[in-house]
């Protein structure tokens, strides 16, 4: 356990602080560096983005933060600090490997790239959802559980009531499955939401509605967001801070405003120019 009383520049307590994170993947006895010396600090309630081309290390950063890196084939160093309710900062990497997952699940909720396939095809929706609820609220009676699920379904716009819960995922539409997946992720009391390219496999219209949906969720709850995407357009719409990765290195980080219009690094400017060319300047400012 590490006590950390660092107070950020604007006086906010950091919700998540990553300090000198390095990740290597072990392949055929060799250690290949994937991430080198990544540091950033996310304040409570801020909305951060990780941008970069594919292979830049965006997902690897997320996997490191969410303790999804396999123990046997990766090596990790640095510190990943989560702020606890009592204000202390706890380093994920100081926790034994076996217990990290349970710890992280209480700290962050994760929405994945492939959220349409995020449900277990062999279990009814009720089973998977209720077991997730029971993970956080053990010993809930069946009636209470049902009440809870129906309430959540309303919040997340999952239609069909109990009937939907009895279905297998392949009997539901893709949009419905995605909403259920997001709802299940947010069963955790976590104050941080990490979204890893949640819209890549969707068509343009669903993309927009998903992004808006995530935004409404955040607006009401004051959750902290870490949004990972290669699409700067969406990031600009969603986030107030951006960090840009390239080949496992941090290129630049700052507020969206700064990076978009006063980027210092040539790579940042190149990325922004590319996005502007595709989307049109006016669209971006929207």
């Amino acid at each position: 356990m590490t006590e950390n009383a660092d107070i950020l520049k604007d006086g906010k307590m950091p919700a998540l602080e990553v300090d000198d994170l390095c990740v290597w993947v072990l392949k055929e006895g060799k250690e290949i560096p994937i991430l080198s010396h990544i540091s950033f600090s996310i304040g409570e309630g801020e909305r951060w983005a990780i941008a970069g081309e594919s292979g830049a290390g965006k997902s690897m950063t997320m996997n490191a933060i969410t303790a999804l890196l396999p123990e046997g084939s990766t090596r990790i160093s640095g510190r990943i600090l989560f702020r606890q309710k009592d204000g202390s900062m706890v380093d994920l990497l100081s926790i034994p490997y076996k217990e990290r997952q349970a710890f992280v699940a209480d700290q962050v909720a994760v929405i994945f790239q492939d959220s349409i396939n995020a449900l277990n095809p062999n279990e009814r929706v009720f089973k998977q959802w209720s077991e997730t609820v029971l993970l956080h609220q053990p010993g809930l009676s069946r009636e209470k559980l049902m009440q809870h699920l129906l309430k959540r379904m309303e919040i997340f716009g999952v239609r069909g009531g109990e009937e939907t819960l009895r279905h297998f995922p392949d009997q539901l539409s893709g949009g419905m499955r995605q909403r259920i997946a997001i709802a299940m992720a947010l069963e955790s009391p976590a104050r941080i939401l990490i979204a890893d390219e949640p819209t890549t496999s969707l068509d343009a219209i669903t993309q927009r509605s998903t992004v808006d949906f995530i935004r409404t969720l955040l607006d009401g709850s004051g959750r902290t967001l870490l949004y990972i995407s290669h699409n700067l357009g969406i990031l600009q719409y969603m986030c107030d801070h951006i960090m840009i990765l390239k080949n496992g290195l941090m290129v630049e980080q700052g507020t969206t405003e700064e990076l978009f219009y006063h980027g210092k690094e040539p790579y940042t400017r190149e990325l922004v120019r590319g996005t502007l060319a595709i989307m049109g300047d006016s669209n971006l400012r929207d």
Binding site: N63, L68, P70, G72, S73
Partner: protein
């Protein structure tokens, strides 16, 4: 790749050796010189009847190779062809071919071989044909599954729509893509044919005891495992090494390669 080359080189030398090396008459018994150890005259010694073990092993090896060759040829060519056709054509033809596959998998091929060798006498080509037909079902299922998968790929449906002849799509475009898996299965199947044939000879219905196979030798010598282990070890080693060779020679590491998951 290099390891495989060495393996195949060994095999080539082995085959040449089997068919070219001069050996004694296997029917020659010599009651005065039974259980002889290895010598210049008898490379692997003699058995309980004074027969030359080396000569017996060589002729047994020739027949085993013949059986494996016939069996794999029939099931590989027949099975791949039928499986590809079934998946590509669909409809009644597919049902018919799948029926054949089901039928031959339901009737155990070792039992069939046993019956046929008892009825018509034991011969290597016949055993090869029965094993070949008996094992065809698995090839059909495998080739069918793989071809169905291929058919959904864009480039194949594109070729179908521009009207390329069926045969050229099947052989020039589908087969090369599913070949790798089929060859791996062929290697495993060839090993199991070696074992099946040895088992058939071991039971020995209708076999000619004067012209024995590795399996027959093992049955005849099984009581000498403690007294003259050489007699038992030779056929066992031959069977196992040949089966191992087929397993590894067609093994393909690229197919087995597994992606890393969050569990590793």
């Amino acid at each position: 790749m290099k390891k495989k080359l060495i393996l195949w080189a060994f095999f080539a030398v082995f085959v040449l050796f089997l068919f070219l090396v001069p050996h004694q008459n296997i029917k020659l018994t010599d009651i005065l010189n039974t259980y002889q150890g290895c010598s210049r005259e008898h490379l692997l010694g003699t058995d309980n009847l004074g027969r030359d073990l080396f000569a017996l092993m060589v002729t047994g090896g020739q027949r085993t190779l013949l059986v494996v060759f016939i069996a794999t040829l029939i099931s590989f060519i027949g099975g791949s062809l039928l499986g590809m056709i079934a998946a590509y054509e669909g409809g009644l033809l597919r049902s018919l071919i799948q029926f054949i596959a089901d039928f031959v998998t339901v009737v155990p091929s070792l039992v069939m071989a046993l019956i046929f060798s008892a009825l018509f006498g034991f011969s290597a080509p016949m055993a090869g044909v029965i094993f070949g037909i008996g094992n065809i079902g698995q090839y059909i299922n495998l080739a069918e599954g793989l071809t169905s998968g291929m058919k959904e790929r864009d480039f194949i449906s594109a070729e179908t729509s521009i009207g390329l002849p069926r045969a050229s799509i099947l052989f020039l475009h589908i087969f090369p893509n599913i070949m790798r898996q089929l060859f791996v299965y062929m290697g495993n199947n060839a090993s199991s044919v070696v074992l099946q044939y040895a088992g058939l000879a071991f039971i020995g219905l209708g076999t000619d005891v004067t012209n024995p196979d590795w399996g027959t030798l093992l049955y005849q010598y099984r009581v000498y495992v403690l007294t003259y282990p050489r007699l038992v070890i030779c056929p066992i080693a031959a069977i196992c090494l040949l089966a191992l060779f087929f397993h590894f020679a067609f093994d393909d590491a690229r197919i087995k390669e597994t992606e890393l998951t969050i569990y590793d």
